[in-house]
């Protein structure tokens, strides 16, 4: 039995929601159920993730939705590594008969409440970072980006190409926070936040929530929307992933993230190759992670990701990404992949995460 994503739901993405994370989660989950045409009474699984308790636990969402009972629940203490992995876990639960209808969501007041970009993570690695001012997640991604550009022969204009391309997509996305256009000249003219990153290399923190509904392909075929079939999923933490989310000192190669090491398993399980991918939704807390993800998955050659983005040959981050739509930690990246499959694309590669660990999915048409 295979699983599919049958519904997607969002709240508005704003600077100040005026709602609790539970209120946002309920709204997005209900929207995903309405999109699929499934009543909350049929939900028997919920999975979500939070960073430093910035969300609402799954049982609270079950309570708010008046779900009769939960058979499958995950409250993962993870950030952007989680969305593809949780959808893959949900699909395994569905495929093995441990659950029938599983909601996967991310909810946070990421702008008006606790801001992940500047929060102090727990874990033993922090003592070597926070006292010296190496204390924001973008610095860790910037540290990798500098080495990545150096070794692959790419430049800050390749970073800019990602930002520019995604803003073009965002212009036609009503949910997107940054819908105004951006030129490469404007990007290059911006002052650094943390060199090599300028403001438009960075995600935009928002309040909001996003949810998807995972069910069996068979059930999905009888629902309102065409199924986005989950052909494969994979998680990987490579060797010596460190003491916490910001500790990269033991990771050997800052030019290759988890995408390089889950690629073969991911595509092999789906029975496709990178050449079959006709749309990609690549986790983009920062522009550099798009380049690294494209090369890691084999969608671009080493050093060729910037050229691929500029060429427009492959649609990438068609909602504007986390850079322009908003930072729902990649849950909206998965939801956008569903939208692209519904629109007629055949094979979509999706990723979650930026550095040592992360996950990915292959979604396909119901052929």
């Amino acid at each position: 039995m295979k699983a599919a994503i049958a519904g997607v739901g969002y709240t508005a993405l704003t600077k100040h929601s005026g709602k609790t994370p539970l209120g946002l989660a309920r709204e997005a989950c209900q929207a995903a159920l309405d999109d699929a045409g499934v009543p909350a009474s049929a939900v028997d699984g919920i999975a979500s993730f939070a960073v430093m308790h910035d969300s609402a636990p799954c049982v609270s969402v079950a309570t708010a939705l008046a779900v009769p009972q939960l058979r499958f629940v995950v409250d993962a203490d993870l950030g952007g590594q989680a969305p593809c992995y949780l959808v893959w876990l949900a699909s395994m639960a569905v495929a093995t008969g441990h659950a029938e209808n599983v909601l996967v969501f991310r909810s946070l007041n990421g702008r008006s409440g606790a801001r992940v970009g500047t929060m102090e993570f727990s874990g033993a690695g922090g003592q070597y970072r926070y006292p010296i001012g190496y204390d924001a997640y973008l610095m860790y991604c910037a540290m990798w980006a500098r080495r990545f550009l150096h070794e692959t022969g790419q430049t800050e204009e390749d970073l800019g190409a990602v930002a520019v391309a995604q803003r073009t997509y965002a212009a036609s996305n009503e949910r997107a926070y940054k819908r105004w256009p951006l030129t490469l000249e404007e990007h290059q003219g911006q002052s650094y936040v943390c060199e090599p990153f300028r403001p438009d290399d960075c995600t935009v923190e928002v309040d909001g929530a996003c949810a998807v509904l995972v069910t069996s392909v068979e059930r999905a075929r009888d629902l309102r929307r065409p199924p986005a079939v989950i052909a494969s999923g994979a998680f990987r933490a490579g060797p010596r992933p460190g003491l916490d989310i910001g500790d990269h000192l033991l990771w050997a190669d800052y030019t290759r993230n988890y995408t390089s090491i889950l690629r073969d398993e991911l595509f092999g399980r789906a029975g496709v190759t990178p050449a079959d991918v006709d749309v990609a939704e690549i986790y983009d807390c920062f522009t550099s992670t798009v380049l690294m993800g494209l090369e890691g998955l084999g969608l671009a050659e080493r050093g060729g990701a910037g050229d691929l983005v500029r060429s427009g040959r492959l649609p990438i981050n068609t909602h504007g990404g986390l850079l322009a739509e908003g930072y729902l930690h990649g849950m909206n990246t998965v939801a956008e992949a569903v939208t692209q499959i519904r629109a007629g694309h055949e094979v979509c590669a999706v990723t979650s995460g930026a550095l040592m660990d992360g996950s990915a999915l292959v979604l396909v048409n119901d052929r």
């Binding site: 970009g117 500047t118 102090e120 033993a124 690695g125 922090g126 003592q127 070597y128 970072r129 926070y130 006292p131 010296i132 001012g133 190496y134 204390d135 924001a136 973008l138 610095m139 910037a142 540290m143 990798w144 500098r146 080495r147 150096h150 002052s191 650094y192 936040v193 943390c194 060199e195 090599p196 010596r240 003491l243 500790d247 990269h248 000192l249 033991l250 800052y254």
Partner: protein
């Protein structure tokens, strides 16, 4: 600057810095040197290890320059480097001088009220 949250695994590292010495952990089974300090070897899994001294000379593996205050108020800009030590492991520290990938660096100590910071400078 805020002082580090020292734990049982790291206390000898911070105590050594206070004495202007730098120690890494070394595995007694596979002889790999490691940082950060931890209860066992991340290459072979052997528990324990011994402290060995290093001069922390090496090269810049990568670097960032922080231009905008993001968290607590601090004087900007400043540069933080990941340093590839000649002795094997990598360390993090503030970097003085013109940063570039692979630039050779040496370490020095900056004493604060209740802790000592390890910094690096580019060797010309």
């Amino acid at each position: 600057m805020s002082s580090p949250r020292v734990d049982v695994d790291s206390e000898s590292f911070w105590a050594a810095l206070r004495d202007h010495r730098i120690v890494l952990q070394q595995c007694q089974a596979c002889a790999k040197k490691r940082f950060p300090p931890m209860p066992s070897c991340p290459w072979c899994g052997t528990p324990g290890g011994v402290d060995v001294e290093t001069d922390a000379s090496g090269r810049v593996y990568s670097w960032v320059t922080v231009h905008r205050q993001l968290t607590v108020p601090r004087e900007v800009p400043y540069t933080v480097a990941t340093v590839q030590l000649d002795d094997g492991p990598r360390l993090l520290g503030r970097l003085d001088g013109h940063a570039s990938v692979d630039a050779p660096v040496e370490s020095f100590f900056v004493d604060h009220d209740d802790w000592t910071e390890l910094r690096f400078r580019v060797v010309s």
